[in-house]
């Protein structure tokens, strides 16, 4: 194996521009794959956030302060349907505190509202957005409930958008994977073809198919690893450069800590290394075996 690795590196060194082109093409594709992976992860974070946050707010009559037994009864009846994930009671005081926090930067808005003005409410999360209307109708019938609001349209749109992102993602990843494989096939195919005479001689000297194939497969792996690292470095720089934007964008959805970023970048690196090694080795294998067969 060691001699095959040496041979692969020496072939790369002997044709540096060809190798550079292969690595750059690989890294371009890996860069696109990495960017798409990032979009996929952010979409997933948004989706989980919107899917799990309370989707129905049921407001109690402003004049009334609901009794704990009444709240527990409503909670129990909603959870008993099996369609509700969670029910959270928000008292008048908690509602006022939340309002103050949300509008902390605007003293005029904070000053205009007093603690008694906001009603107590129930924040209800449903297991599936399709149950939203049904649960909203049920909760409207409960005693003391004055108003029910739910964001049916927003969740519907978001679900549709998320499905589209997943679908487009699959198509894009599949297409990019195929393009990369074809590029590697082409680059290694050219190298195999230029060594046609050498391969024929080696075969006549008793070289097995594996002996012939190994250095080309290793060469493909080297392109894959180098391309993955190069793309990863570019993505790392991009992430570091845009961290403040992402912190602002994901504010309230998730905390963008250093460990979160590190975990994401390690995942991207692993994904790209595995993809690079797979594409490089499969490309090398197909390119060589096609030639040996012919």
């Amino acid at each position: 194996m060691n001699k095959h690795i040496k041979l692969a590196f020496s072939r790369i060194a002997r044709a540096p521009y060809q190798a550079m082109a292969a690595i750059l093409v690989m890294s371009m594709t890996m860069l696109l794959a990495g960017i798409f992976l990032a979009i996929g992860v952010i979409s997933q974070i948004l989706l989980v956030y919107f899917e799990t946050r309370p989707q129905i707010n049921a407001y109690f009559n402003q004049e009334l302060s609901p009794q704990p037994q009444q709240i527990e009864l409503i909670k129990a009846s909603l959870l008993a349907t099996g369609k509700v994930e969670d029910v959270k009671y928000v008292s008048k005081e908690q509602a006022f505190e939340e309002y103050k926090q949300q509008n902390a930067s605007d003293s005029l808005l904070v000053g205009a509202v007093t603690s008694g003005i906001l009603p107590a409410s129930l924040s209800i999360s449903v297991k599936d957005p399709k149950f939203m209307r049904e649960i909203a109708e049920d909760v409207k019938k409960e005693v003391g409930i004055d108003e029910v609001r739910f964001e049916e349209e927003i969740v519907d749109t978001l679900s549709h958008w998320t499905d589209s992102v997943r679908f487009v993602g699959l198509i894009l990843v599949g297409t990019h994977g195929l393009i990369t494989l074809l590029v590697v096939l082409l680059v290694i195919g050219i190298k195999v073809s230029s060594r046609r005479e050498e391969i024929s001689t080696l075969r006549l000297l008793g070289a097995s198919k594996r002996y012939i194939t190994a250095p080309f497969v290793i060469e493909g792996v080297i392109y894959g690893v180098a391309g993955a690292f190069l793309a990863w470095l570019v993505i790392l720089l991009g992430v570091l450069y845009t961290t403040s934007f992402w912190k602002f964008f994901l504010d309230g959805i998730m905390v963008l800590s250093v460990s979160n970023i590190m975990m994401f970048m390690v995942s991207v690196l692993l994904f790209e290394l595995v993809a690079g090694v797979l594409i490089g080795s499969i490309g090398g294998l197909i390119a060589t075996s096609r030639f040996i067969k012919s």
Partner: protein, 227 residues
């Protein structure tokens, strides 16, 4: 003694062109045989069949016990590792030095570097190139390149050496030296050697066994005076 090569009614066609037409012959272990005939008579095709670079269309061809008509990949590799081949155009790898070129069959067979170094040294000594192991093919003359080709062919102590027009690209003096080297190798190693050539002068001088081909048929099988 069992024959090293046994051909029974071997036929090889390229499309509708019959290149070898039902040829039958045997080669015993330790024989030195010249394969002669005009261009297109089928000499190279026969050598390629012997090393299983081509597959026959009909008949039976056994080489070192391998039936070349139905070899699997690993059997083909085993056969080729027991056959040394010398080419008219040398077929050396230009990006490897002489040592590396000669070492190729051993490297392919998976021998350890220490063993390779010793055996390459001996092979280069035998062909008179022990002073140039680090030279590259581009730095050598035609005669020297063919010596490297010979060293590569004998390095793994093959049971059969096939030489396809080994003197075809060489001047008469160098050609004689290469043939003398082949004869010496034959004497020293007792290896079976088949040389395809149309150099009548060399064939007549040595008077070894001669198998003459014409239009794909054996027209003469002349035993050598030493046989």
């Amino acid at each position: 003694m069992e024959n090293l090569v046994s051909a029974q009614g071997v036929v090889k066609k390229f499309g509708s062109n019959v290149v070898l037409d039902s040829i039958t012959f045997e080669i015993k272990p330790g024989e030195f045989l010249f394969l002669t005939g005009p261009s297109g008579s089928g000499k190279t095709t026969l050598l390629r069949l012997l090393v299983r670079d081509l597959v026959l269309d009909a008949g039976e061809l056994k080489v070192i016990g391998f039936d070349t008509g139905g070899l699997k990949e690993n059997q083909m590799v085993n056969l080729r590792r027991q056959v040394g081949v010398v080419f008219q155009d040398f077929k050396l790898l230009n990006d490897r030095n002489i040592f590396e070129n000669v070492a190729l069959p051993l490297e392919i067979a998976g021998m350890k570097p220490e063993g390779i170094k010793k055996m390459v040294g001996e092979a280069l000594d035998m062909v008179g190139l022990s002073t140039k192991p680090l030279a590259f093919p581009a730095q050598l003359s035609g005669g020297e390149l063919q010596r490297v080709g010979l060293a590569r062919a004998i390095i793994s102590r093959p049971r059969l050496i096939l030489a396809d027009e080994p003197t075809g690209n060489l001047d008469p003096l160098t050609a004689k030296a290469i043939i003398k080297l082949l004869v010496d190798i034959h004497k020293n190693m007792q290896t079976t050697i088949v040389v395809a050539t149309h150099n009548a002068e060399i064939v007549d001088t040595l008077q070894l066994r001669v198998l003459s081909l014409k239009e794909g048929k054996i027209i003469k099988d002349k035993k050598g005076k030493y046989e």
